[in-house]
């Protein structure tokens, strides 16, 4: 079983780094057809070409192959007799050599690179316990361009969270490789809001009226692909909520670039 987790990690990373989920591609294709700004249109078409090149050559579509983030869904009835984190880390080390991936993981203070994308805290595994005895793993390599623009705001309950979000997007979107996917966490605590925002990206796309309304408002900002102007600033918005203290209003925005890369392997 441990060997299967290692192999699934390598396979999921390989797929995530060299292709995009079909629904993500479809959204970029639709945007390229509807976009009225010529610079924006040419950027969107080039992005689609780039994905085709990555798929046909098996090379990473972006040189920022990201930090190794995973979501593991594990059945409550399943018992593992090995260290899951260690097995996934082994898969990351193999994938770094094999695909290959750029070594991105460094010590935060000395800035020394581990050379294999692992180290204290990396890979980062989001563990979900689900019904049954199954096991699946989603690789979600996260690049720094969009992650660096992400933020948590501890708002006053009297503030409008959507104003906060729009202001942050207007200020930061150009650096995050738009058109964006926006994972929004509203409520909880300081750290729970951030975790909700990351999870929102994995639960994309949002279809609730509130999510569609925010998507439309973001697109009216006119920031466009790569911040050079256009109708297409975001391709998806998902909001995850949790109860918060009556005195608090935490809001987290996890920016995701147009290359919303992730891939799932079912192990059991």
């Amino acid at each position: 079983m441990r060997a299967r987790v290692v192999e699934a990690t390598v396979r999921a990373l390989q797929k995530a780094e060299t292709s995009l989920p079909l629904w993500v591609l479809k959204r970029i294709e639709d945007a390229a057809l509807q976009e009225t700004n010529p610079i924006a249109r040419s950027h969107l078409r080039f992005m689609l070409q780039n994905v085709q090149i990555a798929e046909s050559t098996g090379l990473p579509l972006c040189q920022d192959t990201g930090l190794p983030i995973f979501r593991v869904q594990m059945g409550r009835d399943l018992r593992l007799d090995f260290d899951l984190h260690e097995a996934v880390a082994e898969g990351v080390i193999i994938a770094t050599e094999k695909i290959p991936l750029r070594p991105n993981a460094v010590d935060p203070l000395t800035r020394k690179n581990s050379g294999n994308n692992t180290g204290p805290g990396m890979p980062d595994i989001i563990l979900d316990l689900v019904d049954g005895a199954g096991l699946s793993l989603t690789a979600f390599p996260k690049g720094a361009g969009s992650e660096n623009m992400s933020l948590v705001g501890m708002l006053n309950p009297a503030d409008d969270p959507f104003d906060f979000i729009l202001r942050a997007v207007a200020e930061r979107a150009a650096n995050a490789c738009p058109p964006l996917f926006l994972g929004i966490g509203i409520g909880g605590t300081f750290d729970l809001a951030a975790r909700l925002a990351k999870r929102a990206l994995l639960n994309m796309p949002g279809t609730a009226p509130q999510e569609l309304e925010l998507l439309a408002r973001v697109n009216r900002l006119g920031i466009g692909p790569m911040g050079l102007g256009g109708d297409t600033t975001a391709l998806g918005v998902r909001i995850e909520k949790a109860c918060c203290h009556t005195a608090s209003l935490p809001v987290a925005i996890n920016f995701q670039c147009w290359a919303h890369r992730y891939a799932t392997e079912v192990i059991l």
């Binding site: 010529p38 610079i39 040419s42 950027h43 080039f46 992005m47 070409q49 780039n50 090149i53 990555a54 050559t57 090379l59 990473p60 579509l61 972006c62 040189q63 920022d64 192959t65 290959p100 991936l101 750029r102 070594p103 991105n104 800035r111 690179n113 690049g143 720094a144 361009g145 660096n148 104003d163 729009l166 202001r167 207007a170 200020e171 979107a173 150009a174 650096n175 490789c177 009216r220 900002l221 006119g222 920031i223 466009g224 692909p225 790569m226 911040g227 050079l228 102007g229 670039c257 147009w258 290359a259």
Partner: protein, 177 residues
């Protein structure tokens, strides 16, 4: 949106001719530099002449001397060095997301390569030298031979036009209303 195919080293006339919104393809030598290479150049100068150069904000993925993926990184992190980099004779900075445009006036352009398009970029680039290798793969200063590298958009020109500034100002107005 005029399309230009240019070769490095770039001349003052090349830069003068370009206007925001134009499309540029570059051939010839281009040099990468990101966070650590900029910090080192700030302390000790460039290891190679950058007269007329195109400096690419990029941390490529390279295996055995072959460029596998090499799109742009966020230029904003290097913005504090723009003035001194242009002082070295750099005539084009290539990146994504932009930097404040004032230092470019009368001498240089900022070219936007579509972010995230590393696989497509790599097809147009060959390694022909490497400096500051002790900084590791992403942070080294790589010297590439570019063959029609593009399409890049002139996002900041030498005449005072800055597409990022215009788009951001307009977005902020929209948000406030």
């Amino acid at each position: 949106m005029t399309e230009y195919h240019l070769r490095t080293p770039l001349s003052a006339a090349d830069v003068e001719m370009l206007h925001a919104g134009d499309v540029v393809f570059l051939s010839g030598r281009i040099h990468t530099a990101r966070d650590k290479a900029h910090a080192l150049m700030h302390r000790g100068g460039s290891p190679v002449s950058l007269q007329g150069a195109a400096l690419y904000h990029c941390g490529p993925l390279i295996q055995e001397g072959r460029v596998l993926s090499a799109g742009p990184t966020t230029s904003g992190r290097m913005a504090r060095y723009t003035e001194e980099i242009l002082e070295l004779g750099v005539r084009a900075i290539i990146g994504k997301g932009g930097v404040p445009g004032e230092p470019f006036l009368g001498r240089a352009v900022y070219l936007a390569f579509p972010g995230g398009c590393g696989a497509a970029a790599a097809l147009r680039l060959k390694v022909c030298g490497a400096y500051l290798q002790e900084l590791g793969m992403a942070e080294s200063m790589w010297e590439f031979e570019a063959d029609n590298f593009g399409p890049m958009i002139v996002a900041i020109d030498a005449h005072g036009k800055d597409l990022y500034r215009d788009v951001k100002e307009s977005a902020q107005k929209t948000w406030k209303h």
